[in-house]
């Protein structure tokens, strides 16, 4: 062990977690090397100083900061479920609108080419959706209310499959 190696092993040496054989080697070096002895003692004193500093630090949070922080967090936490509900409602409204647009565009044959393709291949495999749209086209009138939940979820998935920025109906 040389002085450099010793310096980089001191942490384990000081906290007592060092392997006994290494420790013996280190002690042997220390007994023969004055600079390392001084280095080790001052390193220990540094660690000791930090430990004392840790004891001296109290968890002080200024009273006015505690007050303000508490008020802010409590108020925000109260509003949070409300905000979440608003946010979910907004998403739900947007979705409903989009599904309605998609259904009327499909009924009127006004789908863009990309979404017409998607719709066609989906309906070929999905009797539920093809039945629904066939009925709509035969009457030619837009549906009253939302499509049934199953069909609705298929349509949402279809819209999400469109490339971003792609409109699903013709202008």
């Amino acid at each position: 062990m040389n002085c450099k190696e010793l310096a980089y092993m001191l942490a384990d040496y000081c906290n007592g977690s060092m392997d006994p054989r290494l420790r013996e080697e280190l002690d042997d070096h220390l007994s023969r090397c004055e600079p390392c002895m001084a280095f080790t003692k001052t390193f220990r004193a540094t660690c000791e100083g930090t430990r004392k500093l840790r004891e001296a630090i109290e968890y002080a949070i200024p009273a006015e900061v505690r007050e303000r922080l508490g008020t802010f967090v409590r108020a925000a936490a109260l509003k949070y479920p409300e905000k979440m509900r608003e946010y979910r409602d907004q998403i739900e409204r947007d979705r409903r609108e989009k599904v309605a647009d998609l259904v009327s565009a499909a009924t009127a044959g006004k789908l863009s080419s990309a979404s017409a393709l998607l719709m066609e291949s989906h309906c070929a495999a999905c009797p539920e959706c093809s039945g629904y749209f066939d009925a709509l086209r035969s009457t030619g009138t837009p549906p009253a209310g939302d499509p049934p939940a199953g069909i609705r979820s298929h349509l949402i998935a279809l819209m999400q499959a469109l490339p971003p920025g792609e409109e699903f109906f013709l202008a």
Binding site: F39, T42, G49, P62, V65, L69, V73, R74
Partner: protein, 201 residues
């Protein structure tokens, strides 16, 4: 970390998830001081630390639902705090910090000490120097770059184990040990220069 602490945390997390009245008060009671102090030691500025603490608590409340519980709650909240603070630092002009390399011990090619060593350990054991030493350690720690400072604060100031610190920072235990050791070597060197200069002057 004590079993007591664990149980407190488990119960707290559960009540945060359910939105039990008083859950937020309990969260603040247990963590307000710790989070503010941790933020202070990273950001070194009271109003920054206060804003960071606000962000931390909001993140905890928002994410309590999705917290997986494969790490301890306190280590999760510390991690959120460290990340929040580091993100704030990133957005700012970096504070002028010293280079830790300048304060590493110097060795010859054969690995021997390149300069004579002074043993000042006896001097700092005298009570008169204790407080001054503490102040110096604080000052020099603040000058460390955050890479070292965060590790040093969690380990030596917060008293967390290397394993806990590693989990919080997402680093390996050897990486933590090495940063911590370098931070201590740096401190030793700074104190050395300070004390020897004092003697000379």
């Amino acid at each position: 970390m004590s079993a007591e602490r664990w149980k407190d945390d488990e119960a707290l997390l559960e009540s945060l998830r359910k939105g039990t009245p008083g859950a937020v008060d309990e969260l603040l009671r247990l963590y307000q001081g710790k989070i503010f102090n941790l933020a202070m030691s990273i950001l070194k500025n009271e109003s920054d630390a206060e804003e960071a603490a606000q962000d931390v608590f909001m993140t905890v409340i928002r994410k309590a639902d999705t917290f997986q519980g494969n790490s301890a709650f306190y280590s999760w909240i510390y991690r959120i705090c460290v990340n929040t603070c580091l993100m704030r630092l990133r957005g700012k002009r970096r504070n002028e910090t010293v280079s830790i390399e300048e304060f590493m011990p110097v060795f010859t090619d054969e690995g021997m000490h390149a300069s004579p060593m002074d043993d000042w350990s006896k001097e700092v054991e005298r009570d008169a120097l204790n407080e001054e030493l503490g102040q110096m350690i604080r000052k020099y720690t603040e000058e460390l770059s955050e890479k070292y400072r965060v590790v040093f604060v969690l380990s030596d100031v917060e008293g967390l184990s290397n394993e806990e610190t590693a989990k919080i920072l997402g680093l390996t235990v050897p990486a933590i040990k090495s940063r911590l050791h370098r931070a201590r070597l740096y401190l030793r060197e700074q104190l050395s220069r300070y004390l020897l200069e004092g003697k000379a002057g």
